[in-house]
């Protein structure tokens, strides 16, 4: 069985001016490789500046890698092949309001990817938008709403709708849960788990909340200063992390404290 997505020796350097003529290379991501199966969830964890957003952006095609290749279903994915990319790999951002166009209604925003990427007639497209709206737990009436009229949870649902409307194989989320309220966040996580089961989507997300990662991810990729430190299944990483950095990232004091109380209680 071929891997759904295979990342080979991908790296990213930025150039920064150093004096008038000199240039300095800043390494955001050192060469790393990993692969993802169909329907799998991978969490990328790391501190700020560790390159976790860079990986997400490289996979989604928001940036071109300095070296290395990405293979989708065994075929090389050209960095400038936006047509395939936007059909198969879609991205969800942290700030849902600013990632939506404030001047278009929800319906028009969801129609847009369909217009450019599917050969459907307008009627079929409309049909599809209504189906997707219901799928993410919104009402058909929301078609005519503008983003600012929705709550933050609903906005995030619209972003998810926009991501799944082309039936992609991979969804990349960069801190998609961080700014949501706890009750809404749990709803969104449930929604993503449901969608994954329904449509067999692979899910790559960057997060720094150990609780969410433990709950959702199959595999965890730990980043530190642009280097991949560990990549293993969640279970293995939780039971015996090889590096101190991963241990620190995966444990949460508050959680342990609460757990301690409940165990002493029982």
């Amino acid at each position: 069985m071929t891997n759904l997505l295979e990342v080979k020796n991908i790296s990213k350097y930025y150039r920064a001016k150093n004096g008038w003529l000199k240039q300095r290379r800043i390494c955001a991501l050192q060469p790393l490789s990993f692969s993802i199966q169909r329907g799998e969830t991978i969490a990328i964890m790391g501190e700020t500046g560790s390159g976790k957003s860079t990986i997400a952006r490289l996979i989604a095609g928001a940036e071109t890698p300095s070296s290395g290749e990405i293979y989708l279903n065994g075929e090389l994915l050209n960095p400038h092949d936006y047509q395939t990319r936007c059909r198969e790999i879609r991205m969800i951002f942290q700030d849902s309001l600013s990632s939506l166009n404030s001047q278009l209604t929800i319906g028009r925003q969801l129609l847009e990817p369909l217009k450019f990427n599917s050969g459907c007639t307008h009627a079929e497209q409309l049909e599809r938008v209504y189906v997707i709206l219901q799928k993410v737990g919104l009402l058909p009436d929301h078609f005519h709403f503008y983003p600012h009229m929705l709550s933050s949870g609903q906005q995030q649902r619209v972003c998810i709708a926009r991501a799944i409307i082309l039936e992609p194989q991979i969804i990349v989320a960069d801190e998609a849960f961080a700014s949501l309220d706890p009750s809404i966040r749990a709803q969104i996580i449930n929604l993503i788990l449901d969608l994954q089961e329904d449509m067999g989507i692979s899910f790559i997300f960057a997060s720094h909340s150990p609780e969410i990662v433990k709950h959702v991810a199959d595999k965890i990729l730990i980043m530190h200063r642009g280097k991949m430190i560990e990549f293993d299944s969640t279970q293995a990483l939780l039971t015996n992390p090889k590096e101190q950095i991963s241990k620190n990232l995966l444990q949460s004091e508050q959680l342990n404290k609460a757990l301690k109380h409940t165990t002493t209680q029982e």
Partner: protein, 332 residues
């Protein structure tokens, strides 16, 4: 320990196009000296508003009523603005979310800190005063755990990382040794390492100097481990209040339990299973339900919930629910 902040039935009403809305509805809160009190609430719960009401950042359009709003022996509501400013300026300080964005972008950090040092603490004539200001500023930075004071004082806010910026803002807040520090979501969107540093710093300040801290947070996963007491508010109503350990281990209110289940995912919940959540969304200001505002989303809601429940006191904790999860034994 003596209670220094005593709030009973604080109500804040706002005039909106849909009539008067109670943004805070009879919230009570007591804070003892040297205590860390965590105030947990989702967005729209009025938690920041409560913090602002204590500090006196009040919009004249708000109508604030309270049975008691006492700070030590001052009744804050009966003071005139000048007196109130004097009291809050001397005794209280506040730090905010996104520290980098509210430091002055045009001024060096050193100058900003020097400015906050109270005049009364400085002695001598002009040059002497100026020098002692700098020394005080350096000492403040050391106190909040910044070792490289020279570099930080010479930089502008945009050059600092989030954690350092928050430390600088804490340094500015504690410059005049306040008795109460209100931290309004100081660590949201910070990475765990920095967050824990800030928590340790706050805990140290509270333990070392008897400073009371009111921590306002959004989420149960970001409670300072040293916090002694906590309160949960939902849509302007107090849900539960009591000792942190008790609330985390034996919640009485369905809301507390739901929040616990939603925040501490792996407590008995297998990975990949659906999380228990509250149905629906947080109501907007114009559409607050009557009675207990959790009503429409509460798993235990029954007919009586259209009346607002009174605060039940039991074993030094309080909760407002007609149908608590655990039975209250009356002889306690």
């Amino acid at each position: 320990m003596s209670t220094i902040l005593d709030i009973r039935n604080l109500t804040i009403e706002l005039e909106t196009s849909a009539g008067t809305v109670k943004v805070l509805d009879k919230v009570s809160l007591q804070l003892a000296e040297g205590e860390i009190h965590t105030l947990v609430g989702e967005s729209g719960s009025g938690k920041s508003l409560l913090a602002k009401a204590i500090m006196g950042f009040i919009n004249p359009r708000w109508k604030i009523t309270a049975d008691r709003l006492w700070w030590r022996h001052y009744d804050l509501l009966s003071l005139n603005p000048a007196q109130r400013r004097l009291v809050t300026g001397r005794d209280m300080a506040m730090i905010f979310q996104n520290p980098g964005s509210y430091l002055d972008p045009n001024t060096k950090i050193g100058d900003q800190i020097r400015e906050t040092i109270p005049k009364a603490d400085l002695k001598g004539i002009y040059l002497r005063r100026k020098a002692s200001r700098t020394v005080r500023a350096e000492r403040l930075l050391h106190r909040v755990g910044i070792k490289d004071h020279q570099k930080v004082m010479e930089s502008y806010p945009y050059q600092l990382s989030e954690g350092v910026a928050q430390k600088v803002s804490i340094a500015m807040a504690i410059a005049h040794n306040p008795k109460l520090l209100i931290a309004d979501e100081p660590t949201t969107a910070m990475e765990p390492n920095t967050r824990n540093q800030i928590y340790r710093l706050l805990a140290k300040l509270s333990a070392g100097q008897g400073m009371s801290i009111l921590m306002v947070t959004q989420d149960l996963t970001s409670i300072v481990p040293e916090s002694q007491r906590m309160s949960l508010v939902y849509c302007g109503q107090l849900m539960e209040s009591g000792a942190t350990e008790q609330i985390l281990s034996t919640p009485m209110h369905p809301y507390t339990q739901a929040m616990l289940q939603m925040s501490f995912f792996d407590q008995g919940i297998a990975p990949k299973t659906r999380l228990p959540t509250l149905t629906g969304a947080i109501p907007t200001l114009q559409h607050m339900p009557i009675g207990c505002r959790l009503g429409p989303r509460c798993p235990n809601a029954r007919r009586d919930c259209i009346h607002q429940p009174r605060l039940t006191k039991f074993k030094q904790r309080e909760f407002a629910c007609h149908f608590p999860i655990r039975e209250v034994k009356s002889h306690d």
